[in-house]
Symmetry: C2
Subunit: 338 residues, 2 copies
DNA sequence: GAACTCAGCTAAACGGTTTTAGTTTGAGAT
DNA sequence: ATCTCAAACTAAAACCGTTTAGCTGAGTTC
């Protein structure tokens, strides 16, 4: 593949100037560096004429900046992530930054590879939805003075910025909504992963049980094998706990998968069992009946994440004080929980 | 932000060797360059110990390769694109390539900026879902001998690889399915954009009308303002065409938006109006009734796209003969069209 | 004519790859 | 025992396209 791109050298040669001069003019330092207006204009005109654009690799090599942010999500195919990705991309774009994203699919090895790949490519900052077992690598990134924001979940042993929601409270309120509706046997369907957001959601559920004295019914589907295990595990859970009159789902994929199973089992929602899901999306909204769901403030999160990252980048060093922000979520009440 | 990364120079200094030697060993040219096995081993061991990884910017600068592919989609928030993005990412990853993606949101200016940005960053190849008005820029990319694959839609005036589906036939068959079911007034809801896939889908619809002699009912929602216009336009379309007993939607967002409107209007599907959508997804599958939809072979498309691109990259130059592949789509029949 | 401005240039990075040019070694020839 | 020459190995240097610290030479000013 030929790369016949025009470079600064070509310009300086053609115009009988030095690279320095061209570079200064192109970077708006003409005045500061006392380049005459005529020369500046001539250069700018020529640059426009030949359509020169700078080579980012070369620039990045010397400046150490690439104006790129690496974004590691669990799965770009999941609407929650693709929506926030869309918003983050937009925010970053407006500030002159580009996003490179990639999915871990929950796999630690892939996540490690991605972090290293981003580092090798010299991204300026990292937005990471961490998998388990990433603590050491992220600590090291911090030691290397890189800007990082964790989101959706964090790593308790790692000091780093984190933007997420108050999962405990969100789930507490979702369950309370069910309890207030007179439900007596509220179940929780979650995974067995140690991810903080999942732990918190479970904690919110448990707090409500404690306060109300209701009985606990928890199904933990193996995180590494959800696709295979959800159906059998959920079906036997329902059969073995016939008193259940409401279910909170800890994630949207658990909710959607289970809703389909319930439909096949002819369980009527909300007559037999009321339902609340986590992370709103179109499927839940259009499901019949509409599914009550906890909605995360995606725009706000996207903005906070980017602002935080860019602030750190501007400061040029990792701030000692890290932000740990948990935004409030909103319960969108639909027919499924009434 | 400090970049205390270890470089080849550090290694050569520490080991008392030259950069050349290190580079050769790292790039597997040790034997070819007759470096002794002991030295090679020592270097490899040291590299592993200090955790050195090469700087891609520097490497890219000299080799002209970045092992990165730029992927331009319409909107990463759209499930169709996020799903194929996920698949393409996986395919590329397996071949040692990384994907940078970005959304145009259908805007020509953004698309142009993205193409230029990718070029400046030295991506090795481009996967583009083009907006209108991109012909000139893409032609130029071809002239610069860059590897490009268009997908989902193409630009009639541009010679370039294209991977998509046979939209005309897919829509023809979807409509035929409705006609075979006895529908007499089949409507088509599409946009007014000139995108080839939309044109073809409309053509498929029209072919069926011609063959069957049925009457045409077409609603074209303004592409640039779908969010605002879909509701009023669709409602008046339905009111002004009371004979309609079936509707084909040209995209999933038109379908989903309209389904919601129909539900609010208490139009019963399929009793009053049968429905067929384009691009299957979870919403359509779980909608009640399940929505019949044209499903694109995403895995196959992803594979073809990446294979094609990597082949071109391997050849090192743009092949004269371009591939224009239209895969068959599959109609998934659900209750909405029965 | 010393000091100061201008306006622009030189050259050294940045971190690699690749080409060219050596330097040892040791085996065989003389 | 010395010489030659290929084999085996390594070093030096050029280069990729930028940025940037430090310099220079010409014209003013006082």
């Amino acid at each position: 593949m030929k790369r016949n791109r025009i470079s600064i050298k070509d310009i300086s040669k053609a115009l009988g100037l030095s690279n320095t001069t061209i570079s200064f003019i192109l970077n708006g330092k003409a005045e500061e560096m006392r380049i005459s207006a005529q020369v500046a204009e001539k250069v700018l005109a020529y640059v426009k004429e030949v359509g020169y654009t700078p080579n980012y690799l070369a620039r990045g090599l010397v400046t150490g900046k690439t104006n790129t942010i690496g974004f590691i999500v669990e799965s770009i195919g999941n609407p929650f992530f693709s929506q926030i990705a869309s918003l983050i991309e937009e925010q970053a774009y407006n500030s002159g930054y580009k996003i490179i994203y990639s999915s871990t699919n929950g796999k630690q090895e892939k996540a490690l590879e991605l972090i290293r790949m981003f580092r090798d490519r010299g991204v300026d900052g990292y937005i990471i939805c961490p998998t388990d077992g990433l603590a050491e690598e992220i600590k090291q990134l911090r030691e290397e003075n890189r800007s990082i924001v964790l989101f959706d979940r964090y790593l308790p042993s790692v000091v780093a910025h984190y933007i997420g929601i108050d999962n405990e409270r969100a789930m507490y309120e979702a369950c309370k909504h069910l309890a207030d509706g007179g439900k007596k046997n509220i179940a929780m369907v979650t995974t067995d992963s140690e991810q903080t957001q999942m732990i918190s959601r479970l904690a919110g559920y448990q707090r409500l049980l404690k306060e109300t004295g209701l009985q606990s019914h928890v199904l933990q589907v193996p995180y590494d094998d959800i696709k295979q295990r959800l159906q059998p595990d959920f079906e036997s859970f329902i059969k073995n706990n016939p008193t259940i009159d409401a279910i909170c789902f800890a994630t949207n994929y658990l909710a959607i998968g289970s809703l389909e199973i319930m439909r096949n089992l002819h369980i009527s929602i909300p007559d037999q069992i009321s339902v609340v899901a986590f992370d709103d999306n179109e499927v839940l909204r259009l499901f019949q009946p509409g599914i009550t769901a906890v909605e995360q403030p995606l725009e706000e999160m996207a903005k906070l994440i980017i602002d935080r990252l860019l602030l750190d980048l501007k400061l040029g060093k990792v701030t000692e004080k890290t932000v740990h922000k948990e935004l409030p979520a909103r319960l969108i009440i639909r027919a499924s929980s009434l």
